[in-house]
Symmetry: C2
Subunit: 245 residues, 2 copies
DNA sequence: ATACAAGCACTGCCATACTAGTGTGTCAAT
DNA sequence: ATTGACACACTAGTATGGCAGTGCTTGTAT
């Protein structure tokens, strides 16, 4: 028996588990499943038309990303937005992306710059259309491309798990009237500095951009405190349903 | 129903899964289970005196850390040492630890320095005794303490998953006659620079230290090529047993 | 001796039964 | 009306059965 492998053998995208996992992760980071919502293995299995096993295994993985919290014999809940945790995720992301950007300055080509600017142009369109989901998709492509310019695209996976958390907070910002234009402007600053091979300025601009999430988060917390963890003892009801309204 | 939570509710250390997971991880990073070894859910369940479920769930988590590779309907194998992967893990670790060290310079106290130097002293003892396992345990405490001085102890979890890979490579170095003294010397350099609040020097020293793994790895690969992935197609036999001899 | 083919033993995946533990709703006692 | 206790419904954790898919082995024909 021989097994041909290379790349990522782990994700047969047609398996019940990977489908379940992707669905759940998407619903959580897009806030379709609000923080605090209780997730029952049985209910999810029914509604996703599968059995408990793939659901359970997905929840274990989501728990690793701290997107859900599992309390044995009690229940599983979509994690509340935890500012401590957001801060930590932001630190990790900033460390990785800035380190990569530092390498990127020496490696960036004209094609790279063209490609990055093309993404920016598309983002400006979403700004007009007000399509938040599309904006996020392009934002992801932008940052991923930035990593690959630095020669560290493989670190994307690590950024992803930190990002998942941040994205929920960032989505709340955008819902809550932060103009997309601010972010696109910051992206532009980064690309401009990169174009002039100015590492310090580029890293500074990236830092400002990545830290933008902090500017809104306290205000948002004041508006929708029930979506936030107070960092101390948390008490959740089994049948609590949290909404964005 | 109310659930009291705080900290890490996820790890009831007495559960079958967490026991299984810890045992397997330990055996893999200490090379007790050599890279390439085939792991059967059934056999592991028997030998760990539990059922297939906790074993399977543990393997899924280890797969996330890339410590094992799962090939559906074929088998699960302890990952070969993949230099590409080691490089990536090193990059992530370096980014996080250096960023934290940069903050640490402004925060470090005399108690911190005393505590760090105490770890160094203990490491020198293990050097004489030749106790590799104890050395690694102290190494972990050192780096963790360094993170906490920077105010980023919570990023330790992220470092851990990158570290797991690196540790296998580093263990191979130590088995293969790299003197522990080199590493302790590098630790000392870091603490000295930290003591004089010299961020640039400290970060430089940390960088040298973290990159030491690269100095040995190619030589080790030449010595024990069957423990390494060639990065291309991998073919593993179901009953292959890899050893360190 | 070699080549080939069919059966077999084994894999991980998924579904489900069972267990131990938890909060809640109900009903009784006061 | 209030309180308390107890049964119940529901939880995640664990165990196990069945499945489709894979490579190895063995037997057979050449």
């Amino acid at each position: 028996m021989t097994a041909s492998s290379s790349g990522s053998p782990k994700a047969p995208s047609h398996s019940a588990r990977s489908r379940t996992l992707e669905t759940l992760r998407r619903k959580i980071v897009t806030l379709e499943l609000a923080p605090g919502t209780s997730l029952s293995e049985n209910e999810l299995a029914q509604s996703l038309d599968t059995s408990r096993t793939p659901v359970r295994e997905s929840l274990i993985l989501l728990q690793q990303e701290a997107l859900v919290q599992v309390f044995p014999q009690i229940g599983t809940f979509v994690s509340l937005v935890d500012i401590e945790r957001v801060t930590q995720a932001q630190f990790i992301r900033e460390a990785i992306e800035c380190a990569s950007l530092n390498d990127a300055v020496a490696r960036v080509t004209e094609e790279d710059l063209t490609s990055l600017r093309s993404i920016l142009a598309q983002q400006e369109v979403t700004e007009i259309e007000g399509d938040v989901e599309k904006f996020f998709a392009l934002d992801e492509r932008f940052h991923r491309k930035l990593l690959s310019v630095g020669g560290h695209e493989s670190a994307w996976a690590a950024v992803t798990s930190a990002k998942a958390h941040l994205d929920r907070a960032r989505r709340l910002s955008l819902i809550d009237t932060r103009p997309i234009s601010t972010l696109v402007g910051q992206h532009t600053d980064i690309v401009d500095a990169l174009a002039s091979r100015d590492a310090a300025t580029a890293i500074g601009a990236l830092r400002v951009h990545l830290r933008a999430v902090f500017e809104d988060i306290e205000r948002i917390r004041a508006a929708v405190p029930h979506l936030f963890s107070d960092g101390r003892t948390v008490r959740l009801n089994r049948r609590t349903v949290h909404t964005l309204d």
